[in-house]
């Protein structure tokens, strides 16, 4: 057997952790989401740093468990998961590829949140089905913490919008 270098081992551990998907939005990996922050090798021990998305998102526990399973499968025993709070996660960390996957899945991707929204600020969200900007907000709070419910006035389809955070 050819011994792997540390860089190769780390790459393999990263790839294993990065293959874990969000249980609620299975087209997005935790790498796409920006939840996977770091993978550190210390001897034959792996430590994975992840950052929580929404404070109360129940998917985080599931994600941590899935990372452990993925690493065990890849041959890394008893991996350690560390939660990093700072800097706080934002939807700006979602990759371009992730945004495209979301749109293709039928969820409007989050807009860049560089400026803080006004209390009653208007926002334009394009329909992920037909692309029309003739859309309206149905409910600020949707099926999961990260989503709002919208409706397209052009194609009449309701859709989820991944909220800025």
């Amino acid at each position: 057997m050819v011994l792997e270098s540390d860089a190769e081992l780390r790459r393999r551990a990263w790839d294993a952790a990065a293959s874990v998907v969000d249980p609620e939005i299975p087209v997005l990996t935790i790498a796409d989401l920006g939840v996977l922050r770091d993978v550190v090798l210390a001897g034959d021990h792996v430590e994975v740093a992840i950052t929580p998305t929404y404070s109360g998102c129940p998917a985080m526990n599931m994600i941590a468990l899935e990372i452990e399973v993925a690493l065990e499968r890849a041959g890394f025993h008893r991996p350690k998961i560390r939660t990093v709070l700072s800097p706080a996660w934002t939807t700006d960390w979602m990759s371009e590829e992730g945004r495209e996957k979301l749109r293709a899945y039928g969820i409007a991707p989050p807009q860049a949140s560089s400026s803080r929204r006004a209390l009653f600020g208007e926002q334009v969200v394009a329909c992920p089905q037909c692309g029309s900007e003739q859309t309206e907000l149905l409910s600020e709070f949707g099926s999961t913490s990260c989503k709002a419910l919208w409706r397209c006035k052009a194609c009449r389809e309701p859709f989820d919008y991944f909220k800025c955070h």
């Binding site: 929580p52 929404y54 404070s55 109360g56 998102c57 129940p58 709070l85 700072s86 800097p87 706080a88 996660w89 803080r116 929204r117 209390l119 009653f120 149905l138 409910s139 600020e140 709070f141 949707g142 099926s143 913490s145 419910l149 909220k163 800025c164 955070h165």
Partner: protein, 258 residues
């Protein structure tokens, strides 16, 4: 079998985190009581989502308080095994849901404060509190917008909805002063740049309230007598009943895990 309450060494920093954690947990629990009972499906989801955000904030704050204390406590021991007099939340958040108007007025008063508070706390010298603030600030902005829209819709709605919101504003007003109170321990944390002075937020909080309330054709009370006690564990009769439900599993089956 009698289950011992969690002993907590309340240093100023531990107490500071605990007070904010208790606010979030108790308000989150109150909102969760609406799950399955809200006037419409969208509101059921909204109130449950807001509850989830608050309980998430509480978990991070409890975990931090336990770490700062360093006596082997954890979020569960702090939430499930402290008795009424050990809870440090604002009296406002433990007040019963009442009707939909009362729930929304309570949420409006609190969110208008939380939005300003967490934004200011992002500059805390304590990196964990600053990181919790960065997340909570965004969530509070959504909560404030949701409550504000309802205050306007109900206030500027029918005679009946107007009457109910105004009655809730008048009823809950005396519980708002506690948000701006500071004791000696907190003053030292403010001086050290770890906490912020809530008194400095009161002007902007009032402006937010006035803008929304006047658009809703409602009025803020002139009365400035304020009720206090929650921060030092002197609570209204409602908190014990809330905790009996919140803690029943851990009190009945000590150490139970999912």
């Amino acid at each position: 079998m009698r289950i011992a309450n969690t002993e907590v060494s309340e240093t100023p920093l531990v107490l500071y985190a605990l007070r904010r954690a208790d606010d979030a947990l108790i308000l989150g629990h109150r909102l969760s009581e609406w799950c399955g009972h809200a006037p419409m499906l969208e509101e059921d989801m909204a109130l449950s989502n807001i509850a989830l955000d608050l309980i998430g904030q509480a978990r991070e704050l409890y975990t931090y308080a336990a770490k700062a204390e360093g006596n082997g406590n954890d979020e569960d021991k702090l939430a499930y095994l402290r008795d009424v007099r050990q809870y440090r939340n604002l009296l406002l958040v433990e007040q019963p849901n009442g009707d939909f108007a009362q729930t929304l007025v309570r949420q409006f008063f609190y969110s208008a404060f939380a939005d300003l508070y967490w934004r200011a706390m992002m500059t805390s010298r304590d990196t964990t509190l600053a990181a919790i603030a960065a997340k909570s600030e965004k969530e509070s902005a959504y909560h404030l917008r949701h409550a504000s829209e309802w205050i306007i819709r109900l206030g500027d709605g029918t005679e009946e909805s107007h009457r109910r919101v105004q009655a809730s504003i008048d009823h809950l007003w005396a519980f708002t002063g506690e948000m701006f109170a500071v004791d000696d321990g907190e003053r030292a944390l403010i001086h050290a740049g770890i906490a912020i002075d809530p008194g400095a937020l009161r002007g902007r909080w009032l402006t937010t309230l006035s803008d929304v309330v006047s658009e809703a054709t409602l009025v803020l009370p002139q009365n400035d007598w304020m009720q206090q006690g929650g921060r030092s564990g002197r609570h209204s009769e409602h908190l014990g009943h809330l905790l009996s439900e919140l803690q029943s599993m851990q009190r009945t089956f000590p150490g139970l895990t999912w």
